[in-house]
């Protein structure tokens, strides 16, 4: 199910010059912000939770997920070079699975690791906040990567739709319509974080059981459907 060559090529495409720059800039910004906040406000659990929840999990993880998830397959379909990959004697679900693993790994490295560092800077893992948000970022990475990889195979405008989901649905509708929060990767991840932290600093609108089922279901379904889409992929010309 896992092909090292496809993985190596995907890593190269994802961590190419400029993409790596933007992927690296976001975590760096998070760490700079946490340093500034620590200097400005001192160690405070509520502040740490605000920064990690409001900036790291709500903004940074989805954007890195979009870049890594759609970037793993989108550009290849876009410029047509995916035919060379598809013409190799590899099962299409294998290709998708390998790309998914790579996308998850990249998202995790660039979102969960800086979240942990930022958490340690902010309050030295007081009340398990740093660990809780790191777990949330890890869980969210898997779901986001699967979801946006699927978008990459479905649409040529995958980046836009991914961002619409991440920014408009999760941030805007999520804050206005309570029902929208049930269908949000961010809240599912927060449910897991809530379990880890135990306190009431990290809260979620979704129960842990529901969240876990939905997370697994979304990841599996998205991966399966992406494999199906790739099996019947037709290469369209430039619009």
């Amino acid at each position: 199910m896992y092909d090292p060559t496809v993985a190596r090529l995907t890593y190269r495409a994802l961590l190419g010059r400029r993409r790596a720059l933007i992927l690296g800039a976001l975590p760096l910004l998070l760490i700079v912000i946490s340093l500034a906040v620590r200097a400005l406000a001192g160690a405070d659990d509520q502040t740490a939770s605000d920064v990690l929840g409001g900036f790291a999990l709500a903004t940074m993880v989805p954007i890195i997920g979009v870049i890594a998830g759609t970037g793993a397959i989108g550009p290849e379909i876009d410029d047509g070079s995916v035919v060379y990959l598809l013409s190799k004697p590899l099962k299409r679900p294998t290709i998708i699975f390998t790309k998914l693993i790579v996308a998850i790994a990249v998202t995790m490295v660039f979102s969960a690791v800086p979240t942990l560092i930022a958490g340690l800077i902010l309050n030295g893992n007081g009340q398990q906040i740093a660990v809780a948000y790191t777990v949330a970022a890890l869980v969210a990475s898997i779901a986001y990567a699967a979801l946006f990889l699927l978008l990459g195979t479905v649409s040529r405008h995958a980046v836009v739709f991914g961002l619409v989901y991440a920014l408009v649905w999760e941030a805007l509708f999520g804050s206005l319509v309570p029902g929208a929060r049930t269908l949000s990767v961010q809240q599912w991840a927060l449910a897991v974080a809530h379990k880890v932290a135990g306190g009431d600093l990290v809260t979620s609108d979704v129960g842990l059981t529901t969240a876990t089922i939905l997370l697994v279901a979304v990841t599996v379904l998205a991966t399966w459907y992406a494999g199906q889409k790739l099996r019947s992929l037709t290469l369209a010309g430039e619009e």
Binding site: R19, V66, D78
Partner: protein, 302 residues
């Protein structure tokens, strides 16, 4: 295979060029200004998907509708409840709808310039009688106009609705004018930032992600820092933090000079003195993005 024969030129060479009747073009030449205008109007139409495939019309049109619908709802509410004032200020509207504006600029800025880079059509433009400055100005003006249409249309809906609801004419006109100035500055600023980022990459998807990342991440970072400064009671630094993201720049500028209430935490807008810094920053950024675009295209054209 062409074998080279030594060309023995006989005495009394018979080679000559025949005149086979090609005629030179002696019609009117439309010139540089015409080419620039065409590029402008094509780019502006392209920013709303006009003259392009149905698929590429969907997103800009959808965002345009999403921009205008809340304004229409507000007008309906104001008329139905016979309110004395609109539920939202003209200047505040663009700040509230910033996610939509960011998405629009992120999707259309790469559309406007990235494809020219990717298919290497930029040198073809420069084989016409336009120059680097014309290309940059036309693209910049087109995207800024498209953004202005996007942001000013809902204000127009609000204004017309307010007049129909017989709200105070002088008051509404003043608010509308202030709103227009603010969205004009916002359009110029966002179009500049979007184009500079998009012109660096020939990949459309990557351009979209980069533009949105710059706009939303900077806003997210700034508002988190402002919120913390507010809770820590050091509210005098809030306006200075606001200088670091495009949305808060516009917000601060309009609350200093255009009578808007600030969306900053605690509604602490910059004072007039700090407002001057905001204006300088906005104008500086607009000029800088124009300069960067010129620099970028001086190289690309060759």
């Amino acid at each position: 295979m062409a074998v080279e024969h030594p060309v023995a030129t006989p005495a009394g060479d018979q080679t000559r060029i025949h005149n086979i009747g090609y005629r030179t073009y002696d019609g009117p030449r439309l010139g540089r200004a015409y080419a620039r205008r065409s590029l402008y109007s094509q780019s502006l139409r392209g920013a709303y998907g006009l003259g392009r495939s149905v698929k590429s019309k969907v997103l800009p049109m959808l965002l345009f509708v999403v921009m205008c619908v809340p304004a229409a709802i507000m007008v309906a509410v104001a008329v139905a409840t016979k309110a004395k004032d609109l539920p939202l200020d003209y200047t505040r509207y663009a700040i509230v709808m910033q996610a939509v504006i960011s998405l629009y600029i992120a999707s259309q800025a790469p559309q406007s310039v990235s494809r020219d880079l990717r298919f290497k059509t930029v040198p073809l433009y420069f084989s016409r009688p336009i120059e680097t400055a014309d290309y940059v100005r036309a693209k910049y003006a087109a995207l800024a106009s498209a953004l202005f249409i996007l942001t000013a249309a809902p204000l127009l809906v609000l204004y017309v609705g307010a007049l129909l609801a017989k709200l105070d004419f002088a008051d509404q006109t003043k608010g509308f004018a202030q709103g227009l100035v603010s969205v004009a500055l916002l359009s110029l600023l966002f179009a500049g930032i979007g184009l500079v980022i998009a012109s660096v990459t020939p990949r459309r998807g990557f351009g979209i992600a980069a533009v949105i990342a710059v706009l939303t991440i900077s806003y997210g970072a700034v508002s988190v820092l402002q919120g913390i400064a507010e809770t820590q009671g050091s509210s005098e630094v809030i306006p200075w933090i606001g200088l670091f993201s495009p949305v808060t720049l516009i917000d601060g500028l309009q609350s200093a000079f255009l009578g808007a209430t600030s969306a900053f935490p605690g509604a602490i807008g910059p004072t007039k003195g700090e407002g001057v810094v905001y204006v300088l920053c906005v104008l500086g950024l607009i000029a800088a993005s124009y300069g960067l675009l010129m620099r970028r295209y001086r190289k690309v054209g060759l």
